[in-house]
């Protein structure tokens, strides 16, 4: 087969193309993941359906009109987000398995940190989309004035989602070659998520009941921010070791 030569500058060994910045590499990975997911809708459809079903079942299990149920609604909400998130996180690195795509990404001049960060960004976007759809459903089923503190609530949901996603994305890379990864991922990540989830629940409960965050909530906010920062730094430092063994 005759192969036509390339037009323009001839290929020369040793010529180094310009390197992409960390952020641009991450955004390239994130946009690839989002495009793949939006075409197949494998994870997001399952996650969305799961979130709605769990919210519905919880509303049957607990009496939504009772004050006590409203007070634990923040916890219910984060349970739903964590369970629904596991479905998205499981797919994060698993989508690289067909055709050995992960090998091509690891062989490319993309740092493990940029690969992780891009995947984490895509996971946050997908999980946040599920959360945004779940919130109105939650408001209807549990009869809570969740819109009254909308922007603070969005901020806390984003902080909590980032924490869940960072841990989940690293463990998704760690469990990608395991046979029982769908089971292993939640088993490994949920215990580590406890501090972040605890802070997110404490901050979310007053917000979904329409109350602003008080001074006593600041300790939880600091815990959530610290959790996000520490685990993001740990993940960025460790992911290369996780990917190349």
């Amino acid at each position: 087969m005759a192969v036509p030569a390339l037009r323009g500058a001839p290929a020369r060994a040793g010529v180094k193309p310009p390197r992409l910045s960390f952020i641009r590499q991450s955004l390239t990975i994130a946009s690839k993941d989002l495009r793949s997911e939006l075409r197949t809708k494998e994870a997001i459809n399952a996650s969305f359906a799961f979130a709605i079903v769990i919210l519905l079942l919880f509303s049957f299990a607990f009496e939504p009109t009772q004050q006590q149920t409203r007070e634990m609604s923040g916890g219910l909400l984060w349970l739903v987000f964590a369970f629904a998130g596991a479905l998205i996180l499981n797919r994060s690195f698993a989508r690289e398995l067909p055709n050995d795509c992960l090998d091509a990404l690891i062989a490319a001049p993309v740092s493990g940190a940029a690969l992780f960060f891009g995947k984490a960004l895509a996971n946050v976007a997908l999980l946040f989309a599920v959360e945004l759809v779940s919130l109105p459903v939650f408001g209807i089923f549990y009869n809570v004035p969740w819109m009254q503190q909308f922007w603070p609530l969005v901020g806390i949901v984003l902080l909590g989602t980032w924490g869940i996603t960072v841990i989940g994305t690293v463990f998704s890379a760690m469990t990608v070659n395991m046979r029982l990864r769908e089971l292993m991922l939640p088993m490994l990540v949920y215990p580590i998520m406890i501090p972040g989830l605890l802070a997110a629940v404490q901050l979310t409960t007053p917000l979904v009941m329409g109350q602003p965050l008080g001074a006593d909530s600041m300790i939880w906010l600091r815990l959530l921010v610290a959790y996000d920062v520490i685990f993001t730094a740990l993940a960025l430092a460790l992911v290369e070791t996780v990917l190349v063994r």
Partner: protein, 237 residues
């Protein structure tokens, strides 16, 4: 300094030594055929050279840099067992994605050039999952060559290729050797590999049993090296 240098490479899987004290170099413009029966350690060695796995002991250097160094990764083109392409993306999107990841100055133009070169430009907007096997393989070859690598690492590249893809790959590899690129090719298909190779290495149970120039005798009798070292000859040789 050789573009590919391995020094004292060991790789253990648990207690099992998959590679034992492997040392070799591939000089610029050389094509080394890495031979050995199944389980000899060819893929493990290629993965370590490609920076996809760490050696338990020893070191691999690509163009003077460690195998996981960004400089080394910019220099390497890898074609492995899988096509390493996303089924749900189009042919163009796949190539443009890797062109971006390799930091090429005009990813779109580069992707289109390689689509034309592999005669896939008419189906550039088709998703890879809709492609025939031969088309997928040609696109995989385009992905591996896209960023103009000076070192090519090919693991069983002729396996399951259709005639058109074999002809494309052989043509590209001959051009690459002519341009002074360095090639390490692992294969069971001795005829195709030995026609291209300037050097040969034989792995036997994780050890490098032979390394040297490819001789005319090897080309005339492709199973000679295996027989000489008491190894069963691959069925397709």
């Amino acid at each position: 300094m050789n573009p590919i240098e391995a020094a004292g490479v060991w790789k253990y899987y648990g207690d099992f030594p998959a590679l034992r004290d492997i040392s070799f170099g591939v000089e610029s413009g050389a094509c080394m055929a890495l031979l050995g029966r199944n389980g000899a350690g060819k893929t493990t060695l290629l993965r370590i050279v490609a920076g996809l796995a760490h050696a338990t002991r020893g070191e691999v250097r690509i163009c003077g840099a460690g195998a996981r160094d960004t400089r080394a990764r910019l220099s390497i083109g890898v074609l492995g067992h899988g096509i390493s392409l996303y089924d749900e993306l189009t042919a163009y999107e796949n190539l443009a994605l890797f062109a971006r990841l390799y930091g090429l100055s005009d990813p779109s133009k580069r992707a289109m050039e390689w689509l034309e070169r592999t005669a896939l430009d008419r189906v550039k907007d088709g998703r890879v999952r809709e492609f025939s096997r031969g088309m997928r393989q040609r696109l995989a070859v385009a992905r591996a060559f896209l960023h103009d690598p000076s070192v090519l690492l090919l693991d069983e590249p002729f396996t399951a290729l259709d005639d058109r893809a074999i002809a494309l790959l052989q043509s590209l590899l001959r051009d690459a050797i002519g341009e002074g690129r360095t090639i390490l090719i692992s294969t069971h298909q001795l005829r195709e590999a030995l026609e291209l190779a300037t050097h040969v290495a034989l792995l036997v149970r994780g050890r490098l049993a032979y390394t040297g120039e490819r001789t005319e005798q090897m080309l005339e009798d492709t199973g000679w090296l295996y027989r000489h070292y008491g190894e069963p000859q691959p069925a397709r040789a």
